[in-house]
Amino acid sequence: MVELVPTLLRQELARLAEDDLRLDGRGRWEGREVTLETDCLYNAEGSAKVVMGGTIVYAGVKFELRTPWPDRPAQGSLMCGAELRPVAHRKYEPGPPSPQSIELGRVVDRGIRESGCIDMESLCIVPGEKVWGVMIDIHVLSDGGNIFDACGLAAIAALRTAVVPAKRFDVGEDYTLKVNGTPIMSSFTRVGGRYIYDPSEEEELGGDERIHITLGDEGHLHSLQKGLRGVFTPAEFAEIFEVAHLRCTELRELVANQEGN
């Protein structure tokens, strides 16, 4: 579906930006309320649901036994994929995975993988023969803006609740997957000429380029991605990088609180 970018919406967003305002009344660096639910899907070995304004995302973790890659005989594997199915918005159409959904899955994948929170060697059962393949599938049910952050949060929260189904595969007793850390993504979109955190659906429609930052527990960068048409300055990046630290810390606490319950 061709997305018409309404000139009037862009003008309105630019006018609001002059007074540092947003359409829904939020501050520039203010996120929408986030609710996180874990262990919510029967049949998934780990699962999470994230609601962020009008955005609803589920993530589910599945395991399978596979033979290791020849060059890494003692390592398991991790794969994270996202589906932008037509259920999520009228703009999504059925068919093979779109470039958008591939980008989304890969950005989330990189943040988790590169943070090193999963020790690939711990997924090895018999070197050269048998290792665990961990699959995180992200299912976007409603796109109300900023699905990247929602997907990143759902993926890591689901992974952190995962139980390895060793018994079902006849390789021992079930155990909780060891996950060392909670990488979190923060996304920013240029709206009305300046960056804002956690864009809504309308802000994405009338906005420009976006930047996704994934930070680990120590505040280290694990994944960066710039998407869509537009350029930014180092000063602009420095500003949103500061904000990303704050927002990532808050979301990491949300995950920790959920696990504490």
Partner: protein, 242 residues
């Protein structure tokens, strides 16, 4: 059906493995309007099954070859999430989901007043998030509530229910073990107000008497689920929203 004779599905006290009576359905809960991006939506939990349906439209029908000059077409996609079953399902359309999508669309076209929207398309997306036998029925129920939630005129709702046979006994609403090891499965889509049937499939082995009893159970369950559907729609609109 599986037909494994050595799996016991009825306990010595006559109840089923999960403690249900033979004519007792699993608990059902329905919520309408769960997806902000959709024109209409519903989530149905039925036992451990979780199905979400979204409706978009009526909208322009494309590709143009699917257009009908005299009515709307309903484009249904039934899809199981990769993590919805015990072994992961590879994402994408398969023969099973294509068939279910087709017969579900035809069932929904039987109740929606499609003549009101010539040359247009109504998209119905059914996503199964957790599967424990009977997902096509749960999907139909979710789709019917989502269509009503979208304000699309219909002559009746449709309720998806199934009965079957295990150990030569007709039982209502098969669970996973009963579906895998039982002798028959009879999923139907019932119009609760008119008592008509818009969806029918069956596999296994049923005598005429067993069929009649299974149908009787299905109608009884449909009446119960219908109340829950109506209640979900009332809760959605009584609050003053929309």
């Amino acid at each position: 059906m599986g037909g494994y004779g050595d799996v016991q599905l009825l306990r010595d006290d006559g109840l089923r493995l999960d403690g249900r009576k033979i004519d007792e359905m699993r608990p059902v809960a329905i919520e309408a309007g769960v997806l902000p991006a959709a024109d209409g939506s519903a989530m149905v939990t039925h036992g451990l099954n979780v199905a979400v349906a979204a409706v978009y439209g009526p909208m322009e029908a494309h590709p143009r070859k699917i257009q009908r000059q005299d009515r709307a077409v309903i484009d249904v996609r039934y899809n199981m999430a990769p993590f919805s079953t015990s072994d992961r399902i590879r994402p994408g359309y398969n023969r099973r989901s294509r068939e279910i999508s087709k017969v579900t669309a035809e069932a929904l076209e039987s109740v929606v007043l499609v003549e009101r929207y010539p040359r247009s398309k109504i998209r119905v997306e059914i996503e199964i998030l957790a599967a424990e036998a009977g997902t096509r029925c749960v999907g139909i129920t979710a789709a019917a509530v989502a269509l009503a939630d979208a304000g699309i005129p219909m002559r009746d709702l449709i309720v998806g229910v199934a009965s079957g046979k295990v150990e030569d006994t007709v039982v209502l609403d098969l669970d996973k073990a009963e579906d895998n090891y039982g002798q028959a499965d009879l999923p139907v889509g019932i119009l609760p107000n008119t008592g008509e049937i818009a969806f029918l499939q069956m596999d296994g082995d049923l005598s005429p008497d067993e069929f009649n009893l299974a149908m009787e159970y299905n109608f009884k369950a449909a009446a119960e689920i219908h109340e829950i559907m109506v209640d979900a729609l009332k809760r959605r609109y009584e609050g003053g929203e929309n």
